[in-house]
Point group: C2
Chain length 405, copies 2
């Protein structure tokens, strides 16, 4: 008689973006004449850059010819892509990462959901609050989070690090010592960042406590200020305490193309000396079969001269949106943050509205979709996220509608 994984049943409601999707569909069905502008989910809208498209066509043609056809990919990803990653994302920043410390995957969402598997169930996690829901939910599903308090919206066995206006949306070192610390900078959802000096404190703390930092750097390409680290390995000692997650979704528009990678340095070991790199390699070898060859080839093209130039232009395009949103909301009297090193703008809801009240208000009055801050955790209540990933025209239209309210 089979039994289900009861931990799944503890999850309150459905995944945030599924809920938003349902609400928007319902509104659109009831109001088919309204033109809804979506600045909610962090999905890109610019097409893949020409250099990427060209390489994709080439790779597709290779797959149609016996001599160049590719079957199963190497366990950790094609060397051509891992070399390009090492060279451009690490060596170019003075960081020494080896090719076999890079694990290519089909995206940072999968990696951030799966990475907890290589840790013991009795490890305690610490997360920022608000936070990208996948970090917490994947730990709930594994049974690492205790019980849920529907009143507070908190799990009994999770250490929350509130990120609010008062602390500049930067987490403080927790009072209770965690085993696994999730950090995401530039941050989703708040758009906040921390400096290299601030991150160094986290690295020192993790090394002192023998905790592991899972560092999500999916928005690294949006950094515009000089003292913000692009990789956690810019900090001294990070290789003995940090795993880094990266994505091609936001820097190159791969949300529908699917590519990411995880870095696990060989020096990263538990207190009793078990290295994490071979554990993750074993997971890759046993439960995963690689990203498609054509997609890995496209990933390599992101690092070509033309690829870098073209994707850089796309980022500039989105950051122009970010500035329009930020400035527009500011001028309309909103309290706003983010948007400078990240494609997310984080605003305080007006008149004490709850996040979901403001969601409904914006959907109904301005036909603009954003993301309720409370969907990212209790400390997100009273906040709201807008993304810069729309088209410029729609972004301008949406903000102008907001200002007119």
């Amino acid at each position: 008689m089979f039994k289900v994984n009861d931990n799944y049943l503890k999850l309150p409601g459905s995944y945030l973006f599924s809920t938003i999707g349902k609400k928007v569909r319902a509104y659109q069905e009831a109001n088919p004449d309204k033109e809804i502008i979506r600045l909610g989910i962090g999905d890109v809208t610019q097409p893949l850059a020409p250099a990427i498209i060209d390489r994709l066509h080439e790779a597709v043609s290779e797959m149609g010819v016996q001599e160049t056809f590719k079957g199963y990919a190497p366990d950790l990803g094609y060397e051509f892509l891992r070399s390009a990653i090492v060279k451009n994302d690490y060596n170019a920043r003075g960081v020494d990462i080896a090719i076999d410390e890079v694990f290519v995957s089909d995206g940072a969402k999968c990696d951030s959901g799966n990475i907890q598997e290589i840790f013991s169930l009795d490890n305690k996690i610490a997360v920022c609050d608000p936070v990208y829901p996948v970090y917490v939910d994947s730990n709930v599903m594994a049974g690492r989070t205790g019980t849920y308090d529907a009143t507070t919206g908190l799990w009994s066995d999770v250490i929350y690090m509130p990120c609010k206006e008062e602390n500049g949306f930067a987490p403080e070192l927790p009072e209770e010592t965690p085993d696994i610390i999730y950090l995401c900078f530039p941050n989703n959802p708040t758009g906040a960042t921390i400096t290299k000096d601030q991150l160094q404190k986290w690295v020192d703390y993790a090394n002192e406590k023998h905790a592991v930092i899972i560092y999500d750097a999916a928005y690294e390409a949006y950094i515009s200020e000089p003292d913000v680290p692009h990789t956690i390995y810019e900090c001294d000692g990070a290789k003995t305490c940090a795993i880094e997650l990266r994505s091609f979704s936001k820097n190159a528009g791969f949300t529908g193309t699917r590519l990411g990678f995880t870095v696990i340095p060989k020096e990263l070991k538990s207190a009793d000396g078990v290295a994490l790199n071979p554990l993750w390699a074993r997971r890759h070898g046993t439960k995963y079969n690689g990203a498609p060859y054509i997609v890995q080839a496209a990933g390599e093209a992101v690092y070509s001269e033309a690829g870098k130039k073209q994707t850089g232009e796309q980022i500039a395009y989105y950051m122009k949106n970010a500035k329009y949103i930020f400035d527009g909301l500011k001028s309309a009297g909103y309290s706003v943050s983010g948007g400078v090193n990240a494609p997310y703008i984080w605003l305080k809801t007006p008149d004490g509205m709850s996040s979901w009240e403001f969601f409904d208000y914006l959907l109904e009055k301005a036909n603009v979709v954003g993301t309720p801050g409370s969907g990212f955790g209790p400390s997100g209540e009273g906040y709201f996220r807008l993304t810069a990933f729309g088209t410029y025209e729609n972004t301008v239209k949406a903000i102008d509608r907001l200002k007119a309210l």
Copy 2:
């Protein structure tokens, strides 16, 4: 102080195909002049069919234009693909499966590794012996298998169902009642199949015991005999006890393109009434982000008239290889099975050699790579797997070398 998932450390040695890869590389390096023929890993060699390549090019072009660019895919997969699956793989065989019972993924290996997550850790699994290693290893990693006995090669908390010459490589109903039963037909590694009447007995047994069958039908396209079921849902009552895993790897050459799907009927519920379909949907929504749009478009092309014809020809090509291997080994005095409804030929090693002894013997004397039966479980000891996925020329050459030994 973080701790690792100790279950990973229980895994004996590395993943079978990694070990084979290492042995072959070492031999090739020591003997650079030898021409090695690989009939080991089940990887295809024929290029993607023209209808698939054409659709891939089209989809790539769509990704380069704003109006047709695709970001995040729908949680469960694009409806165009799920419709094609329902229509061709199920409705055409008189089976009624709904679109929201189909979950598109990046392949059956991931799905067969991940599916155990939605079940309780105290469920007991039953597997065929020999078996595709992922079923067991993914349960080891989750902590469901007890302790490993290095002498017998068996896990204390796994129910093994030996498949040997004596029972025609078909498992018998186990004495101890399992909660989760893994079945794969046509079988990897033995190439054996069971009839619809035989499978019906398993379905009846599972319903009686309230066990769940995880039915891996990745090799369905190779079925040539009329009384062999193409889907478990051809059996009465299968919807209340069976999950089906399917793949595009072997029927359309997608090993390096990555696409598969899982079917979970809505009727499938635990004894206390928890439906599995929404649990798997939740896993998809939380820990996965969909197969690439271009790959899903390619998957749809597999079901086009041209796609069906062309992939059918590829299967016929591989099955011609299978026949050559089967007949050749038979004429050389080997005891052989499989190869009629599956691309795998299963042979008894000669002269009481162990599986790995025969692997080394074949690699060194004939420069042919196969897969040791013992790598699939203790009852595979003394057996050896050859695949029909090589080119015809190489297959002929390999078998002629074997016959000349």
